[in-house]
Symmetry: D2
Subunit: 335 residues, 4 copies
Amino acid sequence: MVVILKNNPDEGQLQSLIHWLETKNVQVTQSLGESNHILGLIGDTSHLDMDLIGALDIVESVRRIQEPYKKANRKFHPDDTVIEVGNVTLGGDELVLIAGPGAVESEEQILQIAEVVKAAGAGILRGGAFIGRSSPYSFQGLGEEGLKALAKAGKSTGLPVISEIMQISQLDFFADIDIIQVGARNMKNFDLLKELGKSDKPVLLKRGLSATYEELLMSAEYVMSQGNEKVILCERGIRTFEDYTTNTFDISTIPVLKKLSHLPVVADPSHACGRAALVVPLAAASVAAGADGLMIEVHADPAHARSDAQQQIAPAAFAELAETVRTIRKTVKPE
Amino acid sequence: MVVILKNNPDEGQLQSLIHWLETKNVQVTQSLGESNHILGLIGDTSHLDMDLIGALDIVESVRRIQEPYKKANRKFHPDDTVIEVGNVTLGGDELVLIAGPGAVESEEQILQIAEVVKAAGAGILRGGAFIGRSSPYSFQGLGEEGLKALAKAGKSTGLPVISEIMQISQLDFFADIDIIQVGARNMKNFDLLKELGKSDKPVLLKRGLSATYEELLMSAEYVMSQGNEKVILCERGIRTFEDYTTNTFDISTIPVLKKLSHLPVVADPSHACGRAALVVPLAAASVAAGADGLMIEVHADPAHARSDAQQQIAPAAFAELAETVRTIRKTVKPE
Amino acid sequence: MVVILKNNPDEGQLQSLIHWLETKNVQVTQSLGESNHILGLIGDTSHLDMDLIGALDIVESVRRIQEPYKKANRKFHPDDTVIEVGNVTLGGDELVLIAGPGAVESEEQILQIAEVVKAAGAGILRGGAFIGRSSPYSFQGLGEEGLKALAKAGKSTGLPVISEIMQISQLDFFADIDIIQVGARNMKNFDLLKELGKSDKPVLLKRGLSATYEELLMSAEYVMSQGNEKVILCERGIRTFEDYTTNTFDISTIPVLKKLSHLPVVADPSHACGRAALVVPLAAASVAAGADGLMIEVHADPAHARSDAQQQIAPAAFAELAETVRTIRKTVKPE
Amino acid sequence: MVVILKNNPDEGQLQSLIHWLETKNVQVTQSLGESNHILGLIGDTSHLDMDLIGALDIVESVRRIQEPYKKANRKFHPDDTVIEVGNVTLGGDELVLIAGPGAVESEEQILQIAEVVKAAGAGILRGGAFIGRSSPYSFQGLGEEGLKALAKAGKSTGLPVISEIMQISQLDFFADIDIIQVGARNMKNFDLLKELGKSDKPVLLKRGLSATYEELLMSAEYVMSQGNEKVILCERGIRTFEDYTTNTFDISTIPVLKKLSHLPVVADPSHACGRAALVVPLAAASVAAGADGLMIEVHADPAHARSDAQQQIAPAAFAELAETVRTIRKTVKPE
């Protein structure tokens, strides 16, 4: 951490700041110049409150030099974290395709699509049961029944399953779900994250619409700080001024997170773009950029899906996508 | 709603779309041109799924003409909603100042500051008990004890009190809290909003960091759709590329929301800018732009606050601010 | 400037970096820790290329501590810059209203509106002659003839006049124009800025749609570095995800620029919001936040204006606006 | 175009609007409902001023249904535009690599790098001569001398060359330059675009930092409206809240522009991310997403480059990149 002091700081206040920092086991070095005066803080500064230091009379500004996340930080864990779920591994040599409908609509529907995506090479089955809709007047998902149908389809096909949780109180319903998804809206629901940190299930954490890379990693840190280190990071688009696409898919997230962190990184082009025609090129781009996996919404009859109709692709398109991305994977990450 | 068709739409599919729309009690008019073909949908279209229509083969795009919110919409409720809390009224002739510390730190602290802000003209006392922090290693608030201390300080001074809820499970602790605040991070926590819709306490709803005006009003609609129409809207800054300020305070929100909705609109310049020196000019601007109230973080000793140290102002600055905004109020809204 | 080194930097490379910095008259202090190593650079670092240092093998990142602008920096010029134009002064005690139509449409039109805005208290007359339109098929302004008509209306009413320049080659036409405006699109047209820096006319510099405060001040620095220190800064909205308004008017710009710089700061709510109904509240807010002046588009018959029809206000509305803001000015800046 | 009327519009005003529209050769159909009233405008509406209609008393809002660009629109030109420059073709079957240093630093430097990038498979040589820097105190390029050295290196290696123009007045210096580049800062410099529209040289047009897809296409339209249809579109990142990367590279631009327009689309990952380590994954992603070409900054000794030091890659890295993207191209666009 670096503390930039105002010109001519009061000597008494300066000494008392330095003394206080030293009681926190932080070593202080001073750089004195004519028009600026810098304190360099050495040691573990992750427990210091930047705001508090920044509010002092003699301080102009404070800048963090070290990343505030530790468990999620590649610097302290150089090796890739590899997460095993059923027969697949996320974060290792494998490229994992997570596929399935936006919403579980019935037992038949999810079972049928499970078989279809498995045949095309999907390794994990997805399906929404608790669905956040921007209008209170829209379909909100089948809830507990949806999770049961999803789990059944997973067992029947041998695919591990993933679904999104909205509230701590729903946690009991997720007993037979293999991966718990935290959606973009809940990325800063810190109570939920802490609760999931006590679970032993892998958590797929989606980037919030206006979250920075660092904030996403701090949310991962919330889960990991409670003991659960099986966190999968997911890019699904951010909000910008461009509204032709639902969100702006930030492809740089993939190589940046792989550099900053040891956790697996997955891309969700379906939610990012909100348009079926863009799913294939964005999926291909994600794998070319180094993603460990993809999450793709696939529906047997997209035009009649009960949610997200415009962004789901049909089974044939998914099969083609799967083949393309496997070839690209071999190019960018030869085994 | 307007449906733009692709060139040369299949006649059978077109007729079946029109038929289906008519079964939904929507009247359809057609505008046929050489290079485009438009359907105008007349009637209540708020229950139609735009995505579903947009996913049809013959459809190029769909645009909503009517606002998707109804109970929050000024078109259907031309008169201002006025909410009474204790001795103050929000949304009427009065300018209401909500003031207090970022976090309740102790019974003594909150009582002392309550007396101070009351003397300066505050009408409502604020204080955080459940605090969302971006780092799991930071102070997270006093929780239930904090709410008790806040309620006690409110009773002792006669000021109604407001505090933020994070989870449905905390609702019981809010029995003695007069207004329940939903923070920016929870603006799209639809389960929480629905639960608060069953309460009879006023709800202060903060705009999310990347939420549009329409999305904020749809979140208000979630609360109101359950029966609770006492919603107060609050602007607290959005996330943009400018990072000198914590967030970009969107002053236009105030006159726009007053036009689109009948609900009271309050501004929170403290969180928007994150710098004490900007709180006074932004507070003055908010009142000049027509805000019904202000929420200001005031701390007896800002530099030693346990959270948000940089954005809290001292009691003397608050007293001055209160005087300035009362004068401006008289200019823009003479009684 | 602070240089953060990678772990275990090569000693030879480190010594050669330090030696090179010292030849640049920069003094270097080192802060050595277990997991990080910081160099503090003291002295005038405005001529150092951050990118170049950041690209070195041993460097993790580089952060600037001092602002890169000097002539525009309040630290080195604590007193407000006051610019005299005709009978008005910008940046001093006076609140200056700059008003007139989006585009000069004819000699009669500009003369008529000049008299109207003067009567309502405007101190400077505005009118576009070279107009940048997003479509090549739209009205592009009267050009040189427009500037002549504007100058004539100015002379006739005694009001100084301002108009926008698009290209260096147009500079000769501005001989009778009192203030040269650089639009948002040209804020980073550095050649134009340097050319205006050789002029002795005041330059009103609008913030670009995606420009930070620092970038705006660096553009002012481009003008000032050539000798012309009469620069007026202008906020006119930035581009964000919210599209109900044309742009998001960033009210914080006003107090922030007044703090960082000694230059006058003016607000243009007309272009920021793009809606006539918002011009009055945003104008009031700007003055409450400390603006030295306002630029307002006024048209005798807004609905038939040849450009920007939706954001121009009628003469009566302007007269009312003028009265409101003068009263607010007295509250926030009593003489 | 669709015009949404206010409730109970004045009949006289409505008829006069309809009459006026019909004189403009626009056919009007009406959709009348209880709570809304819509006019559908059929025919060529590209010459109508939306603002002017929107400013009418009886109008609530106006929405464009047709794209405002014509010559750049794939609807009216379904076949891909293929641009030949020297031995390469942009927009056809070929994947074109444009490579070279950020800035031409000397005749020797540009000749040496030209040979290196040619050997690695580059088809076009780039090099900046007029360089826009955010600080007036930074290196601004060699200007005319730089262009001469670039043209010489091009002739010597047989590579066509590209460089950026800043001002109309520089046009004469570009006689021996094969492609004229318009930078992000000049994307809305409409006078420059119109001038280039009279040239017969291909124009590479970079997306502005805050420009929408539609605005980029409208700028292409400015060039094309003057007769020059050889426009190449280029994505180079937009400005968002994420500041780990210089800009946010919007990968969706590539498939979206290929759909909306028939013009070639090129990606510039170097400027988008500003970090050499990200150039390779973003280049691979761009080709996977369907780009017709890449523009890559290559420098013999990146750490000592006179500009953009952090984003240039070394020759060896470029050779590897070239091989990777050629393999990906074969996967996504088999010949």
